[in-house]
């Protein structure tokens, strides 16, 4: 079920234009390995989710490709293979907390960003409108609430119409309304064809927003591919019958079964999403097996994510 780099999906074959390639990056802090031989390719137009629990090396990875942190080994290439220093002017970034000059207004802070990016000032006000801060454009940054700061960070990332957006936990610390607003904005941006790399520890967020995903834990890549193929919906079945072994064999011929567990008489396993309990009953009946307990539930992505990260 793991699609590694070498196995490209159809979508990727149709449109393989790597925007960012990460080749075996390793970063150590003393004895701790934050990122461990990480390989990733992000193609144009993808909304790529970097998914992992807290402390899995997501931010360190982003810090490395953005030139803030020096990797111990490995390399990365931006756009057409050139990894020159000015790549960041073509990238919009939110990394961890929003960082602005507290004594300057929203407009002044964005003007500074436009100045560094050598971008025009004409899209400052429309961007503030997009993130719904236009009414506070002349307030100093330190008077902003956390949600507003996060939205201003998003505005900052959009200055100069970047080809590529890097968003590290973009909904961190926001209330539910703020979260949905930010997600809406991200989806709006994605529709315009901008490539997005988004780090998150929230599965739900990745599932809702991203087209592709890479799961990392303790700096190691566990799985990567299209969201649907990695985080597929499966059905979990709990079953007690008078002949578990035979029933499993029968099922195994028709479906893909994984994650088999036995506890006493009860067996628990995952099965394809097109499975139905009616069919199971029919199959058991035809073969003279009596089912005394049957419980099916859809496994959430959450469980699957936990499973992937637990076993490795």
């Amino acid at each position: 079920m793991y699609l590694f780099d070498s196995q490209l999906s159809l979508d990727q074959i149709r449109n393989t234009m790597p925007v960012l390639q990460i080749n075996g990056i390793t970063k150590k802090y003393g004895r701790i390995t934050a990122v461990n031989d990480l390989h990733l390719t992000i193609n144009k137009g993808e909304i790529f989710g970097l998914l992992g629990p807290n402390g899995s090396g997501k931010t360190t990875t982003l810090g490395i490709v953005l030139g803030l942190i020096k990797a111990n080994s490995g390399s990365y290439n931006w756009f057409d293979g050139s990894s020159n220093n000015n790549q960041n002017t073509k990238i919009g970034t939110i990394l961890e907390t929003p960082n602005f000059y507290p004594y300057m207004t929203a407009i002044e802070n964005l003007e500074l960003i436009a100045h560094i990016k050598k971008a025009g000032r004409e899209n400052i006000e429309p961007t503030l409108e997009l993130v719904d801060l236009i009414h506070r454009k002349n307030s100093r940054f330190h008077t902003y609430s956390l949600g507003m700061k996060q939205r201003l960070a998003l505005a900052g990332a959009l200055i100069g119409n970047p080809e590529f957006l890097i968003l590290d936990e973009p909904t961190n610390g926001l209330d539910p309304q703020g979260i949905s607003e930010v997600r809406e904005i991200i989806q709006k941006i994605a529709h315009s064809g901008t490539t997005i790399l988004m780090a998150s520890h929230i599965l739900d967020e990745v599932e809702k927003v991203c087209s592709h995903v890479a799961i990392i834990k303790k700096g190691k890549l566990l799985a990567t591919g299209e969201v649907g193929s990695i985080l597929s919906d499966q059905i979990q079945v709990e079953l007690i019958s008078d002949n578990n072994g035979k029933l499993l064999d029968l099922l195994d011929n028709r479906y893909e079964i994984s994650g088999l567990n036995k506890s006493g008489e009860k067996i628990v396993f995952n099965i394809d999403a097109n499975f139905s309990s009616g069919e199971l009953n029919k199959l058991a009946f035809e073969n003279g097996i009596t089912i005394s307990h049957l419980l099916t539930k859809k496994t959430s992505l959450e469980q699957e994510f936990l499973e992937i990260t637990k076993n490795k």
Partner: protein, 269 residues
């Protein structure tokens, strides 16, 4: 270059500490001179004091006043401009936005170089005004002879600023950086020079320290008298000669600039 100076200006123009330091500098520079002139002194001393305010001595006196002010106000300003970017994590943000590490340091250097330019012009202006009203007969040579001191004044201001930038970059934290900036200049370096160096090798090499060299660019105007007093005693002068000061200060400033680039390139941000 203009692009990078403007970048720093956009950051600093609304920064309260920068505004306060600039305001205080602009105010105290001439005020200290005016205050000196108002001191009531006995008749003989008065003639001596009056000579301070006429060409070309006025530039030496004002330069020495400027030496202290530049040490405090300009050095602080440079130091704060770096720690400000650290404490607000905006240095990191600047890099993310697309500024390179090299450009970051260059923007600081260009900006302080420009500020020192304005300060030097201000120094020449105030000195000229005082000199104009206090010199019975003015010659063009009063200015041409002073060109060297104008240059040294600029180098001194720039030296304090570069040292402030370096301390700010190394220490990162505003309070501690200010403390170390002051402590190094006022206690640590003199302590090493007089408490250690002079006891091991007692010759003029004990003056070849960075902040001492920068300070000696515009020395106390009474240094000739001090040298005469002290010099015979120790067999050496207590100040660097003008040429020595320029040479030593320039070498240290170049070293500090090298260290600025070295430190920022080594760091994870």
């Amino acid at each position: 270059m203009g692009h990078l100076i403007k970048l720093e200006w956009l950051k600093m123009k609304n920064y309260t500490a920068f505004r306060v330091l600039s305001f205080l500098f602009v105010l105290t520079f001439p005020l200290l001179l005016i205050a000196g002139k108002r001191i009531q002194a006995p008749q003989q001393a008065q003639t001596f004091i009056d000579s301070f305010y006429s060409f070309p001595t006025v530039f030496e006196i004002l330069g020495y006043v400027g030496n202290w002010l530049a040490f405090f106000f300009l050095g602080f300003m440079a130091l704060l401009s770096v720690t400000n970017d650290y404490t607000n994590k905006t240095l990191r943000q600047n890099m993310l936005t697309g500024l390179s590490r090299k450009e970051f340091i260059l923007s600081k250097l260009y900006f302080v170089a420009a500020v020192c330019g304005f300060v030097t012009l201000y120094y020449i202006l105030i000195g000229s005004v005082f000199g104009f009203f206090n010199t019975p007969k003015i010659y063009l040579s009063d200015f041409t002879d002073s060109l060297a001191i104008f240059g040294k004044f600029y180098l001194m201001c720039f030296g304090y600023c570069v040292f402030g930038l370096l301390i700010g970059l190394i220490i990162k934290k505003t309070g501690l950086a200010l403390f170390i900036y002051l402590a190094y200049t006022m206690f640590i370096e003199p302590g090493i020079r007089w408490g250690f160096h002079s006891r091991v090798i007692n010759n003029s090499t004990m003056h070849y320290y960075p902040l001492n060299a920068i300070e000696d660019l515009i020395p106390n105007p009474l240094k000739d008298k001090a040298d005469a007093f002290q010099g015979n005693f120790e067999g050496m002068t207590i100040f660097l000669s003008s040429t020595e000061a320029i040479l030593v200060a320039t070498i240290y400033i170049a070293l500090f600039i090298f260290l600025l680039f070295f430190v920022i390139n080594k760091r994870d941000l």
